[in-house]
């Protein structure tokens, strides 16, 4: 592993209502914003939106499939924009630094070139 290494490309979507319901069932987030179209529209969204934790989980899985979940030390996500039905998430994940056996990784999920979630992580690499 070296600075500049990237995880193999991954694209998720188009996001369906089924995807969102599946995550709601796993995590227990039954806010109607994520499954009730009329509630979401009343709240000002054009469709239901995914829970941020879904994008956070998708991005974390992308990272852990590459480096191993047991090597993760820190993971932080920032939510930049909502994810709507039909959105296609383009994921990216790159090592930007390595010191003392710990890699710093920068990640993002983008829709149409705009980041909807950005993240930073720290993971043990090499002999760490």
């Amino acid at each position: 592993m070296a600075v500049g290494d990237r995880a193999p490309a991954r694209r998720i979507g188009p996001i369906t209502q089924t995807d969102i319901v599946r995550f709601a069932g796993a995590g227990g987030d039954f806010n109607p914003l994520h499954h009730d179209p009329s509630f979401a529209q009343a709240a000002g969204f054009r469709s239901v939106i995914a829970m941020g934790q879904m994008q956070a989980g998708i991005l974390a899985a992308y990272l852990s499939d590459w480096l191993g979940v047991e090597h993760l030390r820190d993971y932080e996500v920032r939510f930049a924009a909502p994810v709507h039905l039909g959105d296609v998430l383009e994921l990216s994940c790159e090592i930007v630094g390595i010191a003392d056996g710990l890699a710093t990784i920068v990640l993002s999920a983008s829709v149409g070139g705009e980041a909807v979630v950005t993240a930073r992580a720290c993971a043990v690499v090499g002999n760490g």
Binding site: A43, D74, F79
Partner: protein, 149 residues
């Protein structure tokens, strides 16, 4: 306003189950068999399947988020989650029984760029195992937009 003595908001306790791990695997498009095969997990040096990285979000099944929002005096329709972070002492393993205590670690008012103010509340949940050893610590930043005036 900084809070010197972190205020406890709620407690949660649950068992990490292999079936629930599989639900998260499907829901997050994870592919590593360490989450679904006990043999693969044992080869990696663990007793059982490893949970996906954000598994403790499952606390949502056992928490009353509306009660949390009310207890903090927040207006749900103006609240967004700005960021979430996880700090791992070790991986979460199928069979773990985890107990989480959620606390308010900061509560600040910030002036917005276009007038009005935002309230930023940081919550921290420390999850410990049956031996009271730390496993994972989660921080959530809640942002309450000010009412337009």
């Amino acid at each position: 306003m900084a809070i010197s003595e972190p205020r406890v908001l709620d407690h949660v306790e649950f068992q990490v189950e292999a079936g629930k791990i599989r639900e998260f695997v499907r829901a997050t498009f994870a592919e590593d068999p360490v989450h679904t095969s006990a043999d693969v997990a044992r080869d990696a040096g663990y007793l059982a399947e490893l949970a996906t990285a954000t598994h403790v979000v499952v606390a949502g099944h056992f928490r009353d988020q509306q009660a949390m929002v009310t207890a903090l005096g927040l207006s749900l329709e103006r609240v967004v989650v700005g960021s979430v972070s996880w700090k791992y002492a070790r991986p979460v393993v199928s069979g773990d029984r985890l107990r989480g205590t959620r606390r308010v670690v900061s509560d600040e008012q910030r002036e917005g760029k276009r007038g009005g103010s935002m309230r930023m509340v940081t919550l921290e949940t420390e999850y410990v195992d049956d031996g009271d050893e730390p496993v994972v610590r989660v921080r959530e930043l809640l942002i309450e937009r000010g009412t337009s005036s």
